[in-house]
Amino acid sequence: MRVLLVEDTVALARSLGQGLEEEGYSVDLAYNGEDGLHLASEINYDAIVLDRMLPRLDGLTVLRRLRAAGRRTPVLLLTALGEVDERVGGLDAGADDYLVKPFAFAELLARLRALVRRDHGQASNRLELGRLVLDLGARSAQVDGRPLSLTARELSVLELLALNAGQTLTRTRIAERIYDEGSERDSNVIDVFIGRLRKKLEAVGLPGAELLKTQRGEGYRLDPSVIGGERP
């Protein structure tokens, strides 16, 4: 899950970034509106956490320009302005949710999950694909009710494919979602992750290669029908 965090207060931005990364998100940081808008226009994020008062370009302007450019990325507006008018203004400018400072980090996480979920048309954190069940909230995977041990990155790849079940995702697209701007990116690494995932799935009795299908020359696709899930 890749998230853009636009916040000008360095201390807040850093600790938020750290917290999100530790939760398995890959996080890009921008300290002003212009940089934020640039990143948001270039990269297809799963969600954007946007502060309202920013240098150069304020949060609302960034939001309006994004929406005007046709970007539908879910945006969580973060601000010290908590009055009703302010919240209404923020939501009307195209925000999907609004969080008033100071907030609990756990609430920010919950709202982010909800945003991503809604963006993928999911009503709950539980993603059921036949014998495989993913819990986006608890960030865990289960097979036949038994927990499946995965690293944060492996889980991210699996979640991404599961949320887009039936669609073929290119290696670049997957890498984009898994790594932030600062990381060394190599789309071959994705093959390694897929390989490990397949092995772990097969170890608990799932047909790894059929579930995570290789589309030659294109990328990977998750097909839930092979494990008793609905065909998307």
Binding site: D8, T9, V10, A11, L12, R14, S15, L16, Q18, G19, E22, Y31, N32, L54, P55, R56, A80, L81, G82, V100, K101, P102, F103, A104, F105, A106
Partner: protein, 455 residues
């Protein structure tokens, strides 16, 4: 005392003084006047009696038209002191003493009489026995008619006094009622203005000029209070907003770090970070409080002669280590010969704000400084740096409360946006001018022009 009571008492006193004074004057002038009239009447009567008096051939005295003189009594004495003729004055005349002048006598009948006596010469006086000549006439009339007039007058006066007092009092009460009605309306209107509705004003239309003036004064007061209130409210609202970000930072840092077990180093880093944020938040609180003090600044200035060299040394001690840490060179150059008439605490506060700004926003390797010069009798302080400068269009706005310039915001440095508001307020309280300029050679310089010390 209520307005109504005061008015009633005032009118009552006026009526009392006026009617009483008039009555007293009339009384005191009526008595001699009435007496004079009476005396004149007595004289006339005496004349008439004399005119109608005749001496018969027998030597008897006779009065023609006797009934003519009913309302006066008289007695005619001959030279031997015997009564030759008389009527109605028996119980009075023996007490008579002074001839030729009217006098008031208490008769043996217990009544008061006005009596007048003189020599007379009746017609055919020669027929009278010479030993009986000359004849003397005493006329008298009861003084009662005058007393009656006087007491009737007194009664009238008393009645009119009472009536005057009553009517005057009632009139005054009505006038007070009528004239205080707009005051009461005004009072109700003023009373209806609460802390929550301080933006309301009193309607001055239809008010008497005096009351309109009062209402105008009250409105002026409300205007000033409202302004101060709004300023205070804006300060509180801004302050709470400004403090939300550091609080959010603190919460996030602690929550994120508590979500899992960490190494001692990681915890230490988190604590250092929390300490830094708290320190910045504290500075913000200090500045908000300082801003709250600013409105009372002018009155509270405790001016004394501040030797600039000493001030410079103090600033050097305060900012030298910070400059070193930030990789900056601090140059303080305040001549020993200069001194300023200023409040030393406030002046220090002002320089701290300016130096703090210079230090925060000047990139590593740069310089900042504090120097002073005299221009004529003016002392000019200068705080300068080699930082990014302040854009011309921002030079006025940076003095607004909570406004942070682009450089400040982008630096990621926490800041309240209050420092320069405080600096300017302190400068203004000292009558000094505060200007932001480009420094020749790059950077910013803040010029503080202090007026010549007033004697």
């Amino acid at each position: 005392m209520s307005l109504r009571l005061r008015l009633v008492v005032l009118v009552g006193t006026l009526v009392l003084l006026l009617l009483g004074g008039l009555g007293f004057y009339l009384m005191s002038s009526l008595e001699p006047w009435a007496r004079e009239a009476l005396d004149h009447e007595l004289d006339l009567q005496a004349e008439a009696i004399e005119d109608h008096l005749e001496v018969k051939r027998s030597g008897q005295l006779e009065q023609e038209d006797d009934d003519h003189f009913d309302h006066v009594g008289f007695v005619i004495l001959d030279a031997r002191g015997e009564v030759a003729m008389g009527r109605g004055l028996d119980r009075v005349w023996p007490l008579f003493t002074e001839w030729g002048r009217p006098q008031t006598l208490e008769g043996t009948d217990g009544r008061s009489w006005r009596v007048y006596g003189r020599l007379i010469h009746p017609e055919h006086e020669e027929r009278l026995d010479p030993s009986r000549r000359p004849l003397r006439l005493i006329v008298g009339t009861p003084a009662r008619p005058f007393d009656q007039v006087s007491s009737r007058f007194q009664l009238g006066l008393a009645v009119s006094l009472m009536l005057g007092l009553f009517l005057g009092g009632a009139g005054a009460a009505v006038i007070a009622q009528v004239s205080s009605a707009p005051i009461r309306r005004l009072s109700v209107e003023v009373g209806g203005i609460e802390v929550t509705s301080i933006e309301r004003r009193i309607h001055t239309s239809g008010l008497d000029p005096e009351l309109a003036q009062l209402a105008g004064s009250v409105n002026g007061l409300l205007e000033r209070l409202d302004g101060a209130f709004q300023q205070q409210r804006a300060l509180i609202s801004h302050a709470s907003h400004a403090l939300r970000t550091p609080v959010a930072s603190l919460l996030t840092i602690s929550e994120v770090n508590l979500r899992r077990e960490r190494s001692t180093d990681e915890y230490r880093r988190a604590l250092v970070e929390i300490g830094q944020v708290a320190k910045d938040a504290n500075q913000m609180v200090e500045q908000i409080l300082a801003l709250g003090r600013i409105d009372r600044l002018q009155a509270g200035l405790q001016k004394s002669a501040v030797p600039l060299a000493e001030l410079g040394e103090e600033m050097g001690r305060l900012f030298g280590p910070r400059a070193l840490e930030a990789g900056l060179e601090l140059q303080v150059d305040l001549p020993r010969t200069l001194a300023l008439a200023a409040d030393p605490t406030r002046l220090r506060e002002l320089l701290e704000v300016l130096l703090d700004n210079a230090l925060r926003y000047t990139p590593r390797g740069g310089q900042l400084g504090l120097d002073a010069s005299s221009e004529g009798r003016q002392v000019v302080l200068r705080v300068w740096d080699t930082g990014p400068g302040i854009a011309a269009e921002e030079r006025e706005r940076v003095f607004e409360r909570f406004y942070r310039g682009a450089v400040g915001k982008e630096s990621g440095q926490p800041g309240s946006g209050l420092g320069l508001s405080i600096a300017r307020a302190i400068a203004l309280a000292h009558g000094a001018e505060l200007l932001i300029q480009d420094r020749p050679g790059g950077g910013t310089q803040v010029i503080l022009k202090f007026p010549p010390p007033s004697l």
